[in-house]
Amino acid sequence: MSSGQVTKRVKYKTSVKDAGTPGRLSLVKERLVFRPNNPNSASKLDMQFKYITNHRYTKEGSNKAPMLNLTSNQGASYIFEFESYEDLHICRDFVGCANLMKFGHKGVAELLHRQQKLQILELIRKFIQNNPAEMICSSVQGCCKTIDYVLHSELQKLHQQFVGGGVLTEAEFWATRKKLLEKDANRKAKQRGGLKSSVLAESKPFIDGRTNRVTFNLTPEIVREIFSEKPAVHRAYLNFVPSKMADKDFWTKYCRAEYLQRSKNIAAAIAEAAEDEELAIFLKPDDILANETRRKIRRVDPTLDMETDQGDDYSHLPDHGIFRDGSKEVAESGNELYQRTLLQDLNRHAAVVLQGTPIDEEQLKDTQTVAEALERSKQERSTASKDDESSADQERLKGISQAMTIDDLRGSNDHHLAPLWIKVLSVLTHNISSTKYNLGKKPGESLLDSLPTSVRDELLHHHISIEELMKHFWSSYPITNKYLNTKVTKLKDEMSKMDSQLQKLKEAVQPDIRHQITLLIRPMQQALEAAMQHYDAEQQKRASKAREKPNGYS
């Protein structure tokens, strides 16, 4: 598929009842092309997106076929019936995005101001997420850039105002925006269900009691567990099935091996393994696992690495040290080759659960699918994560040395940057924005639009600044050290400045819109007021406390 193009098999209809013309619908950059399968058919179509004013589609789950209905500016409607909802959604999002494009960069910026930024972002995000990268046409990327730019210019203004004005430090300003700094925040994959904690494969075989038959129950989920916990079995499956043996035979052998393991009949296991080399694979220790273990042990937390102790212990050369003083337990020696214990299995299981296996629930269809999906994800992981791993290790080592410190002996000096989510604040901001929105007379036409641009911009900027101030103000409580104290004082000064600015703005506007402005400003003032009240109350409390304790505990 070439970049920026989507082609789907569809039926083109002029009305819902029409039987339709089978053909291919291609969506390219700025246009939409329908080519019927029968080249002689008259119903060809080639039009630009900009002529489309509206689109509707059938909801998934309804009984109707997946259809997309496009309306042009001339009032004509074009109906496409897709083969699946999946196809429909891809095309729908494409059209949606393309629709957005016709506003141009300026238009998008405009839309953003109209508080629809979330919806637009959501639309684009969804589109990007659901489609492979090569399908995203350049215009969508352009749109993203605009959004980024608009968001960033807001940010720039704020940054200049507060950091430039000395109210906040650089670190404080960015601490609440860590997410923005992570470039690929919107590439986050959707959460996948992990493995179940309990060991499925350990579920007991079913014995019917009358005959000697033993039945094992295998579901795709159990198979996934077996494959991820026993990579050698996984490899064997990929190698043998279906070229060398059938799926069923493979599992019969596997279960036979499991049965031998569990019955602890080592002699029988050895005998059977000697005759059957495929069976032996299941009984032998897992070599892939052994390699993995060797790799992992190198990266283990050094403060608990008992293997290094063994490597350093010259007092216990073979036969040195005290051998039989009763402190050591008598180890049972056995044929290690064929001995895999429950304890080992449990450890392995927990490790795999902790690590997670990146397979979607949908892929749990049959063993073949599971095996292949697992293989793919393994490869992805091994190529992608090498660098991640080492950096993650560094991170972990840092964590370890931090854990070595004694918590209560250190003064609390790293609390002031913690971004805090405060309920009062979110409720307030919600109120503010909802009032702002509801003040409009008709949905979609907000009060803001009726204001002169300069006033509107100022108002919005004030709102964002106050939001920023509040965020920092509330996250500074409780005040545990001097640093936070000075920060709060600075913030408070800035807040009173902001208050008077709002007042000035109110007085400066034309009398005919003063009432609306007052309504818009009120929630902001309320927020400021609440913060100042809190500040005064705290200040008083601290003053009285300081009087009680002459040592000045802070």
């Binding site: 309990s198 050094p302 608990l304 350093d312 040290g321 008598v330 449990l346 003064g411």
Partner: protein
């Protein structure tokens, strides 16, 4: 913070300090001033290590005219890493406040296995094969061969290091093993030899006990340490065991068979050398006549493990004539092995003193005591002459020679015990001849003699006056500190009954009772659902743990447990256990929560901390035993009684020794040191908290309980002495809720401060420290 203890300015990397730490430092300083040894006991969770490190480094900074070196010994490598992490933290603080003057070099030293960066060598399986693989590339004769033959492989890291010669130095800083490896890789120098070289110049050396206590290792690593050193043995409650183990050797059938193979191989080598280079053997003979056991100019890469006897006891004499010639020496070895083989072929337990043993070797095998004594040196010389590099293949004959040298050197403090089988498994023949040391003071004596100050410290050293007698030294300071807690952050409980009110115990007649197994399981199922993060369970033995987990698995209890937490288990395989532990910590870190199943006298119980969220609850299923009928243990007790007049009463609280001295031998008893270790590692600081459940009805009996460490007993309320599962659950819930409440960290509300600020410490300094001592 920065404060004065008399004339020394102490740099302590925190804003506050515990009063215990302060007094600990004051006592430690006295010992350093007096240039004497000291014995200090302070419970875990009070920041002992950082107090030690910060006082001693500050002391060294204050006394620049007579610089002291710190040799810090830990029991294990992972404890070494922890110590180095704390030292790094301290060092950063000191450099920040003092600038370049505070710069020091601190290194952790370990074996080639843990330091090697040459992928071809470090991939070898175990310690001995790594040592051998290294020697194959770095031995002097290999390198001289490589000079002529470019196809002869060598180690580029060693070659680079050797080429850099004096220029190969570590810049100041604190180096963990990983740091050393990283530095070595970056520079292309061998980190192992670099570290060994830098040990002489370092201000702080951190390594494990045996690098000082075991003559085999100390002989090559610690020979050149200056007298002006402070030696610290941390977590030293088991130091006596380390000492006796260092001087003990066992011989088994496998050893003898291996030794015979070794002798044949050496014989072949000798024949080969006779053909190609007879002069070499002659040169060795001449050297031995002159009285030199080893060439003096041995390069570091040639060094093998040193003589197993203590340095003062090694005779500086010529090797006796009857073993100077290589063939003669081999004959002697053959006769010795044959003699031991006959000895081992017995069906009853025998105990002999070294003197009578040596006498019978002399009469039966014709090997005199002096020849025995020189066995090790003679073998070493021969292997060097024959240019043998695969030393890992020759461990068996080395064991035999170690045995011969030790038995020929020491007439007292040892016994030889021959047992045809392990008494716990009388049906499986496994004869072993053990030369066991009983006298811990032997191995540690050179350390006390050589170094200015030796500090022995641990969380549990009681009774504290027993250690000077066991180790035979005279401390100038011997103190035991208690921990003052800000709040009741430890909650021990004794659980005697299960949820069905039936008693639980691991007593022999009850342990396999399905009711007990189920009740233990139910206890854990309930606890995993209410306790956050990590839970650790200890079982009395591997076999018991294995059995109980299997039956929990069959009855579905394990599944219930896994509904709430992941399960990780200690196995007999160290690598697997390490990975399980690592995963356990990850699971606790990420909030998933996990349970770790472990064994009361296993490796994990011995040295892994389960502090903070890694162990909010420790459950001890049953009472751990020590098998006290062991012949070796009894022999040791007899020796101690006869030599040191350590009275029975003194043992009452000490280890399992009690049982043997005090009561009938059939009664097995709780081992205090073990129990203390299992549960004693839950608290990292006074802000930490944790619960312990002792699940066995026998703990409600006073005589069993009283052997728990005092700091646990002091928190054990009478109401918690006889609980059933439901009651324990209720108490646990209450406790966790209480711990979640904010509290005053300084403890000023309770009257006595449990946390001191800069100001408090200064006040103390002015008023004299005496006032606040306990």
């Amino acid at each position: 913070m920065k404060f004065q203890i008399e004339e020394v300015t102490v740099y302590f990397p925190y804003d506050n300090i515990y009063p215990e730490q302060y007094t600990y430092m004051v006592e430690l300083k006295r010992a350093l001033d007096a240039k004497g040894h000291c014995l200090l006991e302070m419970p875990t969770g009070t920041g002992k290590t950082i107090a030690l490190l910060s006082l001693i480094t500050s002391y060294a900074l204050a006394k620049t005219e007579s610089p002291i070196k710190l040799i810090y010994c830990t029991r294990t490598v992972h404890e070494m890493e922890k110590t180095l992490a704390e030292l790094k933290f301290l060092h950063n603080y000191q450099v920040k406040h003092l600038g370049a003057a505070a710069k020091m070099l601190a290194i952790g030293l370990s074996s080639r296995k843990n330091l090697c960066v040459n992928p071809k060598v470090s991939s070898a399986e175990n310690r001995d094969s790594v040592d051998a693989a290294c020697r194959k590339l770095t031995a002097s004769w290999v390198r001289s061969m490589a000079a002529e033959n470019p196809n002869q492989p060598t180690c580029e890291f060693y070659e680079n290091y050797d080429r850099a010669a004096g220029g190969a130095v570590l810049p100041a800083g604190v180096y963990t093993l990983e740091d050393l490896r990283a530095f070595g890789k970056e520079k292309g120098w061998c980190p192992y030899f670099l570290a060994r070289h830098m040990v002489q110049f370092a201000n702080v050396v951190v390594y494990s006990y045996q690098y000082l206590l075991d003559p085999k290792v100390a002989g090559i690593i610690s020979k050149e340490m200056q007298k002006e050193s402070v030696v610290v043995f941390d977590e030293a409650h088991n130091i006596d065991n380390v000492c006796i183990e260092a001087l003990s050797v066992s011989v088994r059938r496998q050893t003898l068979e291996g030794a015979i193979r070794n002798i044949s191989r050496i014989e072949n080598e000798i024949d080969r050398f006779k053909d190609i280079d007879a002069g070499r053997l002659r040169a060795e003979y001449n050297r031995l006549v002159e009285g030199l056991a080893l060439r003096g100019d041995l390069s570091a890469s040639d060094a093998w493990l040193a003589n197993p006897a203590l340095p003062d006891d090694i005779l500086r004499q010529a090797v006796p004539g009857n073993i100077r010639r290589a063939e003669h020496f081999l004959h002697v070895l053959r006769r010795l092995v044959q003699y031991l083989k006959v000895k081992l072929d017995t069906d009853k337990v025998e105990k002999e003193s070294p003197v009578s043993f040596v006498a019978s070797i002399n009469s039966d095998a014709g090997i005199d005591q002096k020849a025995l004594k020189f066995c090790y040196d003679r073998l070493h010389s021969l292997l060097m002459t024959l240019e043998i590099t695969d030393t890992d293949e020759f461990l068996h004959i080395q064991t035999i020679c170690d045995f011969a040298t030790l038995v020929g050197t020491y007439a007292r403090g040892f016994s030889i015990i021959i047992e045809p089988f392990d008494e716990r498994m009388p049906l499986i023949p496994d004869p072993v001849l053990q030369l066991c040391c009983h006298d811990a003071s032997l191995a540690i004596k050179p350390v006390f003699d050589r170094f200015q100050s030796v500090v022995i410290t641990s969380g549990t050293l009681s009774p504290i006056d027993l250690y000077p007698r066991l180790l035979n030294f005279h401390p100038v300071v011997s103190r035991s500190f208690k921990m003052s807690l800000t709040r009741d952050c430890i909650c021990p409980m004794v659980l005697t009954r299960g949820s069905d009110q039936l008693p639980v115990s691991t007593k022999f007649d009850m342990r396999s009772d399905p009711g007990v197994v189920r009740n233990y399981g139910k206890l854990l199922v309930e606890m995993v659902s209410i306790v956050p993060d990590g839970i650790v369970c200890f079982f009395v033995s591997y076999s018991y743990m294995d059995g109980i987990i299997n039956s929990w698995n069959e009855s579905g209890i394990l599944k219930d447990i896994m509904q709430h937490k992941l399960v990780f288990i200690e196995t007999q395989d160290v690598v697997e256990t390490t990975l399980a532990l690592d995963n356990y910590r990850r699971a606790c870190d990420c909030g998933r929560g996990a349970v770790f199943f472990s064994v009361a006298r296993g490796k994990v119980a011995e040295g892994i901390d389960f502090d903070r969220h890694y162990g909010r609850l420790v459950i001890m299923f049953g009472v751990p035993f020590q098998y006290t009928e062991s012949k070796i243990l009894r022999a040791r007790l007899e020796y101690l009684r006869d030599t040191f007049q350590i009275k029975e009463g003194d043992f009452l609280t000490f280890d399992a020794l009690i049982d043997v001295m005090n009561i009938e031998l059939t009664d097995r008893n709780l081992n205090q040191r073990q129990a203390a270790q299992c549960v004693g590692r839950v608290i990292r600081s006074k802000a930490d908290y944790g619960m312990m459940i002792f699940a066995d009805k026998r703990y409600s009996r006073h005589d069993k309980r009283s052997k728990l460490p005092g700091w646990i007993l002091s928190h054990l309320r009478d109401a918690n002495l006889n609980l059933s599962t439901d009651m324990a659950l209720h108490i646990a819930r209450e406790f966790l809720r209480k711990m979640a409440q904010p509290y005053e960290k300084t403890g000023s509300t309770t009257g006595r401060k449990t946390l001191l600020s800069q100001e408090d410490v200064e006040k103390l300094g002015n008023n004299g420290a005496q006032e606040m001592l306990y």
